[in-house]
Symmetry: D2
Subunit: 359 residues, 4 copies
C-alpha cells in the first residue's frame, strides 16, 4: 500500500485482537509500515496462543505476510496481556462482546470491526468521511459505563460504500427512500467462510439472519445527528436485499434513491464527484485521495477492475441514471476487507489520534 | 427431459431457425422426442449451410446432441426453403427482423425467441401461464400486414419468471410499483457471449444498452389487457437494475413490490402457491406441474440447486418477507435458456396448437 | 437417475452411516427407488441424532431430497442400532476406523467409501468392472478377524476412472509406467470442504498429505491378482500429481502410459472402446451401459459436458494420442461423488448380492 | 510496478504493435514510467485506427490505463509509420508473420510476443535468465535475410516458467526426460478469448492444435547451444499435456523430471534456490530480484497468492519431492501475461539495449 508522507512522530504501540482470521490478517497487512502505529502484539484463539504468528496463521492474502509479524508469538485475547493504548479488534461478534469491554474498561481505545456493539447508542459507528463528530459520544460512553477507555466501531462492510455515497446526497438534497440490493464477495464471510460447494457458479440470496436488518439501520445511525450528546437516527427509509456472489473481494450495491429536494442528474453527479471528507479526516494516512470516484463508463464499477481504487479506500460509483420510480439509480463498489473492515478501522483510529482521543 | 404422456397425434413438422447457436441448441434438445412436433429442418448461417448439424455446431449443452439431429444438413435461413407450418426462431435480433416476416408472410407460424418484434403492438409477447388470450391479436397482425402466417414472441429471459410471479399478485391485489435487480447467468448472452476474462470472479453491472428498459416495459405488455383488439399496457411502474454474474444457467431477480390492495404475508404466499395457469395452458406438454414453487427455506432459490425445477419450466420463488418501503420482498429464479427462451417458445407453440392457430 | 428394469425381488433393508454429509447425501439420492435396496435407517453425528433427516441435513445436491428420507429420524452410528444385513458407510476415516469393525463383527456387510481400511490386505478394494473376484478375500477377512460380517471398500475417487481405464490396457498390452496428474473437483473434499476463499479463480496443487501416495498405490492393489487367497500388487509404477480446481463435480486425470507390449493407437483405442465389465458385473442395476466412452473430439472429456455419462457411472476417455516419452497420452474423466464414491459403493453392494455374499 | 532506480539516460522511443489487445494492453501498462523506453506510437487494427487509444481499447486490466496513453491516436500497423528504433509486437500470429519482417527490414528491432517466427532457426527465442547469448544469431538473421533490423521472440507463456526452472537443473545435473502438465489461465487466450460458457466450473483439456507440440519443442531451443552461429537443440525429451482452467492469471505446471546425473533433494533445491541470471541480465529494469522463488509450503505456489512475486517476473516453484518414476516432482507458477508475455518481451529489449543491439 503506497502511503503518503507524514511528519514523523513516535509511533503508537498497537495490538490486533483476533489476528489470525481473515480480517485480522488484513489488519496486519495494512499496519505494515504504518507511519503512526506499530504492532506490539497479536492475539489469537487457544489453538494459536504460544505459536509464532507465521505458524499459527493460514495466511490467505496475496500480499505476503510482513516479516516483522512472522516471529511474533501469538498471545491470548483474554486475560488481557497487552501493553498498548490502542487495539484493533478483528474478533468474532461473540468473542468481541466479551473481550472488548475488558480492554475498554482498563483504559484502552478499542477500534472494532466486530458487530457486537454497533447498535449501542453510546458507541460511535464511525466513517471518518461521514461522521467524525460522532466520536464525541465516547465521553458519554466512558462516563456511563465507568470505563477508562472506550469502544468505537466501523459499520457492516456492505453498507460502508453506500453510506459514503449517501452522505453528499443527504447534504445536498435530503433523502427520503433508499432501495439497495447487494452482491457480496465471499471474503466478507471470513475464512473458511463460504463453502466452495455452495458458491461456485451460484448466487446465494442470503447472508445471515440479520444482515438485511443491519443494512437498513446502520446507515441511519451514521447519517444521524448528535443532539444533546445523543445520536438521533437520520429520518429516511431503507429496503435491502443481500446476496452472496462468487467474487473474491468487493461488495457491489445497486441503489435506487428518492431525494427530498429535486436535483438534476448533473447536480447529483457533482455532489458526489465533489464530495470531500470533513477537514479533520481529509489528510490522515489512510484517507484516499478521492472519497468517491464517479465513473462515466456504462459498465463500471466492477469488482475485478475497480476494487483497489485509492488503495482499496475509495468508493467507486457508476451507472448514475434516472430511476422510473425513485429519482436516481446507481451502482456502488467498495472493498469489503479494506474500506469495509480493517482499513476502515485503521482510518477510524487515525481520526481518534488526530482528535486527541488517543493519549 | 421427462415428458408427461399425451395422446398420440400426427406430429407437426417444424424447423429451427438459427439452430447452431446457444438457444438454437436448446430448441433442438427440447424438441427431442417431443410428442407433437418433429424437426424437419435446421437453419444456420452461411458458414454452417451445407454441413451436417453435428459438424456445423459447437454443441455446448450437457445433454448430448440428439442422434436424429447429427446428420441433418443445415439449410439457409433465407431464402426460405422450409416446408413446415411452424418454425422456432433462435435468430439474433437483426437476422430475425429480416427473416421472420418472410416466413410469416408465406403462411408460417413463427414462434420467436428474438427481441426484434417484441415491441410491436400487434405481436403477442406470450407466456401461456399469464396471457394466453393475447394470441388473439395475431388475427389483426395477419390482416394489417397482409400475412398468411404470423409471429409470436416470448419475452426477455430475465423478466419471464418475474412476470409469472407478478401475475397472481396482480390478480389478487393489484400492482402499484415494482423494484427489481437481476443477477443474470452467462448463458443469457449466447455463445461465445461473455468473455471469461470479464466475468471470472466478477460481477458486471450492465447487460446491454436497453436491457433495463425492456425489463421495465415487457411485463406491462404481458400483464396488459386486450381492449378492442388492442393491447393496453398494465398500469404499474417498474424500476430495474441488471447485472451479469458468473453463473452458468439461471437468472435470479430480487423483487420488492407495492400492491394496490393490502394483503397479509400468508395471503400473498397463498396467491403465488395456488396459482394455476389458465385452463387452456395447464396440460400442454411443456407445462410444468407447478407454475410457481414457493420455497420456505431462508436461502433459496439458488441457481445451482433449483434451476431444473419442473424440468426448467417452474418459476421458483423464495425469501418472501415484508419490505420496509413497499409491501413485500422476495427472490425469483427462472431457467433462462429453458423457461426464458427455447422452452418458453415451445410452450407457446403448444398453446397455439391447442388454440387451433396451427393448421 | 434412470434405472434399467430388473426382476422384482424383495428389497434388502440397508442403512447409510454418516448420511448427512456430502457422500451420505449422494447415497440417499442414489438409493431412491433402487430396485434391490430399501433404506431403513440413516445415521449421523451427535448433533444430528434424534432429528428428522430433513432438519438434520444441509442438503447440497441439485436433485431434491427423496420424500421418504425427509421424515426418517437420524440414529447414532454407535452404539449400533441398525437392523439390516448391509450398510453403506459414508463416515469420515477416523469414525470409520472405529465403527465399521463393530458392524462387520456383528454380521453386517459394510460397503465403505471411507479410506480407513483400503490398505488392509484382507479388505477388497473393489471396482466391479475391474476386480470382482477380489471379493473372495472377505472369507479370509471374516476368518482372520473372527467377524460374522465383513468390510469391502471402494477406492479413492481420483483413481477410480484411471483404474478402469488401465484395466483393458493391462489385459491387452501390460503396463510398465504410468504418469498421472489430477484436476479434482471441490466436491471431492466433502462439505463444507474447500473454502471458496482458497479456490475461486485458483488452483491448489495439493489435496491432503497422502493423496498422491494413495493414487500411486491403490490402482496396483485393484489390478493385482489373487494368489493363494492373498492379493499380489500389480507390478507397474505410478507417479501422481494431485491438484484441486474450481470445478463442482468431476475429477479429470491426464495420463501418460508406457505399455509392456507394443500396441498401435487404434489397437489401444479398440481395447478401451470394447472393454466390457466381467460378466457377473455387467447387468447389475448400477452398471453403466458403456464402461468406457472413448471420445474422438480434440477437447473432450470435460467435467461440465461429460460428467453425467452413463448416469455418472461411465468413465469418459479422450485425447488419445502418442506420447513422446511413454507410449500414449490421454485424458480421463470420472464422476467423483457418483462413480468415485456413493455410486461405486452401491455397485459393489449389487455385486455382493449377485455373488451371494449378502444373506 | 515498483521499479528499481536506474541511471537516467535518454529514453528510447518505442512503439507497441497491436496495442489494443490483451497483451498489447499489458505492454502499455508495463511501459508506464519505464526508465529506458518511451512509447511514441500505438498501432491497431482498421477498426481502431484514427481513434484515441482510450476510445479504441476495451481496457481489461485492473491497473488503470496510463494517462499518457489515453490520448494517443492509434496508427495502422501497416503501412509502417513508426519512427522508433524498437517496437514491441503483440500482434496475432498471422498479422505478425506479415508485418514484423517489414519492420525488421527497415532497420527496426522487433521484440515479438507472437508465435510466428519462434521456430525460425535464425530467430532467437529469448529468456534473459536462460540464454542471453542467443541474441548473437540476429547477426546471421540480418545477413541472411538482408534486413537492417531483426526479430527476436519470447516463448510460449506456458513454458516460460518451466524453462527457467529447467535451466539450473540442466546446468547442475543434466536433463533426460521431462513430463509436464499445464493448467493455464484464461488470459493466456487473449481477449475475448475463452467463452465463459466453456470454462465456468470446468476444465478444458485442450488449448489449440499445436500448443503441446510447442511446449515439447521450445524449451529445447532455449536450452540449446550456439554452435558455429547455429542453434543446436538441447538433447532431452519432453511430454506435455495442456489444460485450460478457470483462473484469471497464472499458468501452473506440474513437472516430473529425470536428471542425467544424480542429485539429492537438497542439492536440487539449492540449484534452483541459488540460480542467478547471467550477469548481463541480472540488473536490468525488469529483472526480478529472485529468478526462482522456491517455496517450502506443502500447497504452494498458487496463482491467487503467488502470481505477483517479483512484480510478476519471478518464477515460483514448490512441492519439490521425489518422483517414483523419474527423479523429482515439483510445481511451477509463472505470470502468463507479465513474465510469459509483455514483461518478458520488455526484459528481452532491455537485454538488447545492454548488449548494444539497439542503436
Amino acid at each position: 500500500m503506497e502511503k503518503q508522507k507524514f511528519p514523523k512522530r513516535k509511533r503508537i504501540p498497537v495490538a490486533v485482537l483476533g489476528a489470525t482470521g481473515a480480517v485480522g490478517q488484513r489488519f496486519v497487512s495494512l499496519l505494515d509500515n504504518h507511519p503512526w502505529f506499530q504492532v506490539v502484539a497479536l492475539t489469537g484463539s487457544d489453538r494459536a496462543v504460544g505459536q509464532k504468528y507465521a505458524d499459527a496463521c493460514h495466511w490467505i492474502l496475496a500480499n505476503p505476510m510482513p516479516e516483522w509479524a512472522r516471529d511474533l508469538t501469538v498471545v491470548p485475547t483474554t486475560p488481557m496481556k497487552i501493553d498498548a493504548p490502542l487495539v484493533f479488534s478483528a474478533l468474532p461478534a461473540s468473542a468481541a462482546r466479551e473481550a472488548e469491554p475488558l480492554y475498554a474498561q482498563s483504559g484502552i481505545a478499542v477500534c472494532s470491526n466486530a458487530s457486537a456493539f454497533r447498535r449501542e447508542p453510546d458507541v460511535p459507528l464511525l466513517l471518518p468521511e461521514v461522521n467524525p463528530e460522532h466520536t464525541q459520544i465516547v465521553l458519554k460512553q466512558k462516563q456511563t459505563r465507568d470505563w477508562l477507555g472506550y469502544i468505537i466501531t466501523n459499520p457492516n462492510c456492505t453498507i460502508t460504500g453506500l453510506t459514503i455515497t449517501l452522505k453528499p446526497l443527504l447534504e445536498s438534497f435530503g433523502l427520503k427512500r433508499v432501495f439497495i440490493v447487494s452482491m457480496q464477495a465471499v471474503s466478507g464471510a471470513g475464512y473458511p467462510g463460504v463453502s466452495s460447494v455452495d458458491i461456485l457458479g451460484n448466487v446465494v440470496p442470503y447472508i445471515y439472519e440479520n444482515e438485511e436488518g443491519n443494512m437498513e439501520w446502520e446507515p441511519r445511525k451514521m447519517l444521524g445527528t448528535l443532539q444533546n450528546e445523543s445520536l438521533e437516527l437520520a429520518n429516511f427509509d431503507i429496503s435491502a436485499h443481500a446476496n452472496r456472489v462468487p467474487v473474491p473481494e468487493g461488495h457491489l450495491v445497486c441503489l435506487s434513491v428518492e431525494l427530498q429536494q429535486p436535483g438534476t442528474l448533473s447536480e447529483v453527479a457533482e455532489a458526489m464527484r465533489n464530495f470531500l471528507a470533513p477537514a479533520i479526516s481529509r489528510d490522515l494516512p489512510s484517507a484516499p485521495k478521492a472519497v468517491i470516484h464517479l465513473r462515466a463508463e456504462p459498465d463500471r464499477p466492477q469488482p475485478r477492475l475497480d476494487i483497489m481504487a485509492g488503495n482499496g479506500m475509495t468508493t467507486s460509483v457508476g451507472r448514475l441514471r434516472p430511476d422510473p420510480i425513485f429519482d436516481y439509480k446507481m451502482v456502488i463498489l467498495s472493498h469489503n476487507t479494506i474500506r469495509g473492515a480493517a482499513g476502515g478501522s485503521l482510518y477510524n483510529a487515525e481520526l481518534l489520534v488526530e482528535q486527541g482521543f488517543i493519549p
